[in-house]
Subunit: 321 residues, 2 copies
């Protein structure tokens, strides 16, 4: 985590959208002095009013062009399906030399939506900070969201190196580790590490909801047996995830096909009581969590440290200190 009280990375930073990600950027940029002026846009008057109450920025607008005008860096933080509309609205008002970036969970489709509308004299650098919670809206963000998470840039081949370095400096100061890759590879990697998990979570929660033989009340009461874990991802923002599904279709269908194939094999192993096959799979997967913890991407506490939230669990709560 870098705290900087030196010169801001950007004179004027425009955040186009002020949900979980946008409002987290606003908070960390303010706390670590990364922008001289933070201009905030939301299409909703209610949201923009709330952003003002929370003092997330220096100026507020429901017109994206107004927020983007004169900005040194514009970060588009809206569901990916709204990218074209935003690009069209801000394009005529961009300052020459400005950096235009985004935070979308898919990158090829975002490039196709944004790039054609931008003038040649700005630097377009697609980005994706791999961080979040199941909450959404301007109240959901927090300063440390990006600490030790990875931020992936998928610049186009012709992109100015200096602009890439400036944007990297900004995200590093937000706490993120930086990586660069091709947009198509990004979409494949995220299909397995993020998009398929969300889809599976939504699906199992839907399945549980549709049973005739088990009541809703029973599903709630006994969810601590494992089910409740899935409800977190399945509580994520519906608009965002609809757009991800629609805009990373090929990679997601490929991962879905593999998942289903593996699940059929597992189903067969159960039907034919192949205990050794089950045991081998169940043993193999154990090491992967350990590796994720060692990679600094997961807390090293049983049950996500969740026991700390239970009343009376002083002992476990102390473990967090």
């Amino acid at each position: 985590m870098t705290k900087s009280l030196q010169t801001p990375v950007f004179g004027r930073l425009a955040l186009i959208g002020i949900g979980l990600i946008g409002s987290s950027i606003a908070r960390v940029a303010r706390a670590r002095n990364l922008a001289g002026h933070i201009a905030i846009y939301s299409r909703s008057a209610e949201t923009i009013a709330r952003a003002g109450e929370l003092q997330l920025g220096d100026s507020y607008s429901t017109d994206p062009a107004e927020a983007a005008r004169d900005a040194d860096c514009i970060i588009i933080c809206v569901p990916v399906g709204a990218s074209t509309q935003i690009a069209r609205a801000i394009a005529p008002h961009l300052k020459p030399g400005a950096i235009v970036s985004d935070v979308g969970s898919v990158k090829r489709a975002v490039i196709e939506q944004i790039q054609p509308h931008l003038p040649d004299n700005v630097h377009f650098i697609p980005a994706h900070p791999v961080a979040g919670t199941e909450k959404s809206g301007p109240d959901a963000g927090f300063e440390t969201l990006f600490d030790n998470r990875w931020c992936i840039l998928t610049p186009l081949p012709e992109t100015d190196q200096q602009a890439i370095e400036t944007l990297s400096r900004f995200w590093s100061a937000c706490g993120a580790n930086m990586e660069q890759m091709d947009a198509d590879h990004h979409d494949l990697v995220l299909a397995i590490t993020s998009h398929l998990p969300h889809l599976i979570a939504y699906n199992i929660v839907g399945t549980a909801n549709d049973l005739e033989t088990v009541t809703q009340s029973e599903v709630m009461k006994y969810s601590a047996g494992g089910f409740r874990d899935f409800t977190r991802l399945a509580a994520s923002d519906p608009t965002m995830w609809r757009d991800v599904c629609l805009h990373n279709k090929d990679a997601l269908l490929e991962m879905l096909a593999r998942f289903s194939e593996d699940l059929s094999a597992l189903q067969r192993a159960i039907r034919w009581s192949k205990g050794d096959e089950l045991f081998d799979l169940f043993t193999h997967t154990r090491g992967i969590r350990r590796a994720i913890i060692d990679a600094g991407q997961e807390v090293d506490l049983p049950d996500f440290g969740r026991q700390a939230g239970k009343p009376g669990s002083d002992e476990k709560r102390d473990a967090l200190k």
Copy 2:
């Protein structure tokens, strides 16, 4: 949570198996004075030595008959596939009037394995405390594991009411809420709230592990996008979960079939860009998490309160206090 320093519920309590559940029972029984003497069995000399070092009980043995002899209550805490063997070993040594119970995640198969071997003069009451973490072994248990979790009894019709009440009193003092149901219904309910979630988690982690196009290192680095949630359940004890799959086959295959059917519909919605269908499902599932939190079965913190485990997140850590 009930703390009692009055008369213990049982004079002698035998714990047959001292893993996560057995050692949690030992800890809460000791802390809340629920048993005069705690006798502990493990088939492994190493585990029994560790239980001794942790001072989990009053006597230790690698012979189940020795631990069960003279006990007022015997709780079998081994993987469900080992139930027959334990029942056979302890049956000739049981004190008349003793309560024999278990903690298995399936109930019909456990009844079939245990009941035929027991003498008529003991009370057999199958039980399932729906609580746990992904950790296993005698070090993994803790006193508050059962606080505000549900413990399901599936007594047979002829079971002595007094014995049921005594066992309920014990589990209530351990912190659990009590419920009774038929063994077959239990197995159906747990198939959706616990067994299917574990199976799906094991499966997706296996799928991610087998990709040629995405490296292991990439899966780790970007797992915070959602994947890491599944690795927790997929790190659970392989023997326990192999046995659950083999002993709740019918209910699990039924739930798997429904899950796969729903997933195919979802896949089709993605392929044909049916955004409204996706949005409807993703919206509907959101309320279910809220209901689980309201039912006291989940922490009311974003990201399971997991941000508290991140270095430097003082703000979120304070939220746990």
